[in-house]
Every structure is written in C-alpha cells, then in structure tokens.
Amino acid sequence: MHIPDGFLDMNIALVYYVLSAIVIGTCIYKIKKDGIDEKRVPIAGLVAAGIFAAQMLNWPIPGGTSAHFVGGAVAAIILGPFLGCIAMVSVVSIQALVFGDGGITALGTNLFSMAIVDVFVAYYIYKFLSKKNTKIAAFVAGWIGITLGAINTGIATGLSSTFQYSISTTVPVMGIWHGALGIIEGLITVAIISYIEKNRGDILYISDKAKNNPRGGKR
C-alpha cells in the first residue's frame, strides 16, 4: 500500500501533498486548542512505535498476494482522530525517510491513505458502532478503514499515466484485495483494542474524553 516513486504523476502527487498538509495542519491546530493530558504523551509515543514494529510483520500468505498490518484504526481508537493521525504521520514519514518504504514524491499520497483516510474512517466507525458493541466496532473500524485507505491508493495510481489512467482497474484491484486482506487487519485491531479495554480501558480516547469532558464540552 506504500506507493513508491515513479508510480504517480507529479500533479497527482502534488495535490495529495496539499490535501495532506491541510488535514495534518488542522489536526495540529485541534490538538493545540483542546490540549492533551501530560499522561497521554508516553502513550502516543508507544502507540506509534508499536505500529511501526507491527508493520514490519508481513503476513506470509501462500500464493503471494498479501499485506501487512497498517494500524490506522488502532491509532484512532487509542489516541483519537487528531493525535492518531499525527502518530500515523510519524510512522509513515519515518518509513519513507529512513527505510525507503514509500516514495518521497508519493509521501503526501501515502499519508493521505494511511494517516488520514484510514484513521478518520476508522475513528467514526468505531465511535458510531461502539455504542452497541466495542468488539464489533473495532473489527469493522480496522477492516473498512484499511479498505478505504487502499481504495484511495487505487484512485491516486489510477489517475496517473504510468497506470494508463486505468482507475477502473486500480480501484477494484486495491479495494477487493485489501477488502479481503482487511479482515486480518480487523481481527488484529479487535485483539489489541479488547486487550487494552480489559486491562487499561482508561487509556482509550473515547473513555478518556468522556471522563474529562462529562458533558462533551470543555471542562
């Protein structure tokens, strides 16, 4: 799902850089405005480091076509959408800058797929479904978040000349494959979130927010 250099037309890459910069800037503004409790700082660092490590574990599925855990939903559910986005920005940027995983020109697009679409889609799915069942909510958040992130990758490549502008091929290929593989992302997400809910439920964004802002407003 990490687009390398050479896959995207420069105008597409540039548009995604601008879109990602706007959303990331908005996230930073929201975080500064609302503030973060001091005790959540180490959690943010550990979530990002954990997602980096988990992304190294490529699923060895026989037949070859496979994927690895991305973690946008885990970041969103633990840290909330804004700080979760920043955690994924750290992971995806370090992957590109230190490890050459994902191109430099494609970084804006890769951030949009994995740090923005995945995180925000997963957050709102979890927020909506967790009122009924937090396990189902975490599973669906992980599954649909990654699938829509992959569809964004399909859109960006499908609008580029190297992919012969074949958006009608790239979107289904990305959507169907990652939709199927995304079930694993959903299962890993529910495993992680259920474990945290059971042992340290207080660190999850939604419960932390409810505790600090009982009426949903500012303290």
Binding site: D5, A44, A48, L57, F99, S166, T170
Partner: protein
C-alpha cells in the same frame, strides 16, 4: 519525564514491541518464502507501471547495509521503533498545548 519510570510504568507495551521486533526477521523470511507481494504491485504489474526509485533510505528496505539479512532486519526494526518512539514523543510534547 523520567526514562526509567517511563519504561517500568509501560513495561507491557515495551515488551509487546520488543516481541514484534524479535519476530520480524522470521516474518521477513516467511514472506520471502511465499513470494510476498502486495495488491499494489499486482496492479502495477498488470498495467505495466514501473518504479523509478530516487531515494533508497538510510536503512534500505528494512536492512542494514553489510549485515546479513535476519540480523539486519532485527536491527532495522529496533532502530525504527526507537526513532518512531522518540519522534512521536517529541512531536506530541511540541504540539500538546495546555489542557485547562
């Protein structure tokens, strides 16, 4: 923030991350064995799109230049996790604002 207390207080999280890093060379070998390839590569192959790398990174493809692959993968994972931890802690401190 005291580093020792940080580790002790979050030892479970550190342990989970360490286990993932230790397992990463095994997963890399297994992925090689099954011919790991992502849907994006399938799509590129099908449409004839080719990469044109302009930058390979400091530790290219999660390896350490000159070190055998499983140990290189482990070291790359260790370095990457530590760098990510430090960067995210720093960024969060810098943007956290003041909660009141």
């Amino acid at each position: 923030m005291n580093f020792k207390n940080f580790v002790i207080e979050h030892k479970q999280a550190f342990l989970v991350i360490l286990v993932a890093i230790i397992l990463s060379p095994l997963f890399a070998l297994a992925a090689d064995a099954v011919g790991y390839s992502e849907p994006l590569e399938k799509s590129a192959e099908h449409l004839g799109a080719e990469e044109s790398p302009i930058y390979s990174g400091i530790l290219p493809d999660y390896s350490v230049p000159g070190i055998d692959s499983p140990i290189g993968t482990f070291l790359a994972g260790l370095v990457g996790s530590i760098v990510t931890l430090i960067i995210m802690l720093g960024v969060t401190m810098a943007i956290k604002g003041r909660r009141n």
